[in-house]
């Protein structure tokens, strides 16, 4: 009867669809967005609608004639510019003046600085780094500095995952720069070298209509360097000047446009992992075999986009492609990697999953090779899915992209 067939079909259709993982996180985001919309309806919220490139948005500093070093977030070779200059980093949300006597180079996470003088350079263990990071509430000089009512309250005392932030090592001190910007500093002495980190709280403003996860309230701008006693005073002075005069721009300013996102770089702006049912220990010769990429943001909180091509190639024991529809399929544009998730202490993550169905050729072993980052594409054995219907082809297809 058609009624029975209809019911069966509707039930199966409704039971399909993307993986439900992350649904409650999305609910929390949805709830906050709904609350914000209701609040915004009661107050006149004027948003900047024109999407001007973020590097054009920051106000010019008083020395507007100085050359500008732009930080785009892309990984690349060092290119040193001689100061005085203005370093503009919209992805990190800061603009700083670099004084004469130094050179600066853009990196994927901020800027690096080194003395012009080779003599002074000898007293540094490496370039001085000015980057963004995350610092636990206990140490953060002004947690929730960017709080504007759209952040969830951090649960007091809940520890952030160690992978995201580390307990500061060394002697700790606190103070205020002129203008009352609070700082937190650690100094760790090892032999002749002192490793110093200065932090100031640095806001992150999510785009209009996007609820801001709690973790972003803990963003800091920090200077990190290693010096010996001969250079300590000069580099300490530089660090103080950089942090004391840094200006928030782009994603650190409410209502300003965010910079275009570069591609994520594995091991830098993201950590990318690949798994199969076999590697997870869940291979069971069931009807489906899965292949995953998991990407997670790193402690520098540099916004980026996960881009492929990412894919899988299914092979026989001789290295020839198996007769599977979609074999070698790749996904190029995966997802924008969120800076953080809605759970208070969760870093941003995304997931791409492929699935392989209905393998009915029992002629030999099945192997696979990853296509795309990270690492080389060496083939290895993989458990094939069970044969379900000999009359239908085996297929490799996109299962879901979790954002």
């Amino acid at each position: 009867m058609i009624e029975d067939r209809l019911k069966e079909t509707l039930d199966r259709v409704a039971g399909g669809g993307p993986d439900e993982a992350g649904a409650f996180d999305r609910f929390l985001r949805h709830r906050r967005a709904s609350r914000s919309r209701r609040l915004a309806g009661a107050t006149a919220v004027v948003l900047v609608a024109a999407l001007v490139s973020a590097v054009a948005v920051p106000r010019l500093l008083s020395d507007s004639a100085q050359p500008r070093l732009y930080v785009t977030g892309a990984a690349g070779p060092e290119r040193w510019m001689t100061a005085p200059l203005v370093a503009v980093a919209p992805l990190q949300g800061f603009e700083v003046k670099v004084p004469a006597g130094w050179e600066a180079s853009a990196t994927w996470k901020g800027i690096e600085l080194r003395p012009v003088s080779p003599d002074l350079r000898r007293h540094l263990g490496g370039p001085v780094q000015l980057v963004t990071g995350v610092l636990e509430e206990t140490y953060n000089p002004a947690p929730n500095a960017g709080k504007d009512g759209t952040y969830e309250d951090l649960h007091g005392g809940e520890a952030l995952p160690r992978a995201l932030t580390r307990r500061p090592e060394g002697h700790q001190s606190r103070g205020n720069f002129p203008g009352d910007t609070r700082w937190f500093r650690t100094d760790l002495q090892a032999g002749p070298w002192r490793t110093t980190q200065w932090h100031i709280s640095w806001p992150y403003r999510c785009q209009p209509g996007v609820p801001c996860p709690a973790l972003l309230a803990l963003r800091t701008l920090k200077v990190v360097y290693q010096v010996d006693a001969a250079a300590a005073a000069e580099v300490d002075g530089l660090a103080g000047r950089l942090l004391g005069t840094a200006r928030p721009i782009a994603n650190a300013v409410k209502g300003q446009a965010h910079a275009p996102r570069p591609d994520c770089a594995d091991g830098r702006s993201m950590v990318l992992r690949r798994e199969t049912d076999d590697s997870l220990g869940s291979a069971s010769y069931g009807p489906v075999a899965h292949f995953w990429w998991w990407a997670r943001t790193t402690a520098n909180l540099v916004p980026c986009t996960v881009r492929g091509p990412l894919g899988v190639e299914l092979l026989n024991g001789s290295g020839r492609r198996l007769d599977v529809q979609g074999n070698g399929r790749t996904v190029t544009s995966v997802a924008e990697l969120p800076e953080a998730m809605t759970a208070p202490t969760e870093p941003g993550r995304t997931e791409l999953r492929l699935k392989w169905l209905n393998w009915c050729d029992f002629g030999g072993p099945t192997w696979m090779r990853w296509i795309g980052a990270p690492g080389p594409g060496t083939a290895f054995p993989v458990t094939a899915p069970r044969c379900v219907d000999r009359s239908k082809p085996s297929r490799l297809m996109l299962d879901h992209i979790l954002r």
Partner: protein, 170 residues
């Protein structure tokens, strides 16, 4: 987390998939289905102090979803917030046999009200009176829509267009 929050969390885990599936049957779009389900659950959460005592709180959430869908149909536009900030998901094909795909294709071509009646009758297993209440329609209209919808499906299943679809799948 309060007891009420825990209770809601359990409710969410039990109802989310079902609500999203219902949303998909009504819209044929997983993105819209997600939006409808999350919207219904947010509204249910707001009313949770009252709703949690109901015998069937899931029915409340379903009613909210159906009302929302009707409202969207009336306005005939997708909420801007469904598009803003949403990353477009790649299509996920449900695992159906040939006949199932043919039948689902026919359902998707039904007028919105006929489709809603059939989905609520045969997927949600609701009696016609309940469907009438949910959709704000007279009982007679619901009976008529169901009858005409099934007739249309029977006709579509035997049509040359459906034969072509079958041919493409085999």
């Amino acid at each position: 987390m309060t007891g009420a929050d825990l209770q809601f969390r359990e409710f969410f885990a039990a109802e989310y998939g079902r609500l999203r599936g219902l949303g998909y049957l009504l819209t044929s779009d997983w993105g819209q289905a997600e939006e409808l389900a999350q919207d219904a659950l947010v509204r249910t959460y707001r009313a949770w102090p009252r709703v949690r005592g109901h015998e069937r709180p899931g029915a409340y959430a379903r009613k909210v979803l159906v009302n929302r869908h009707r409202s969207l149909l009336r306005r005939a536009k997708v909420e801007a917030r469904h598009l803003a900030g949403r990353r477009v998901e790649e299509a996920v094909q449900p695992e159906l046999g040939t006949d199932g795909l043919v039948l689902w294709s026919a359902v998707r071509q039904l007028p919105a009200r006929q489709r809603a009646v059939l989905v609520l009758r045969y997927h949600e297993d609701l009696p016609e009176a309940e469907v009438a209440r949910l959709l704000g329609l007279p009982l007679g209209t619901v009976k008529s829509l169901a009858h005409r919808g099934l007739a249309r499906l029977r006709a579509e299943l035997g049509s040359p267009a459906m034969e072509e679809i079958r041919g493409n799948l085999e």
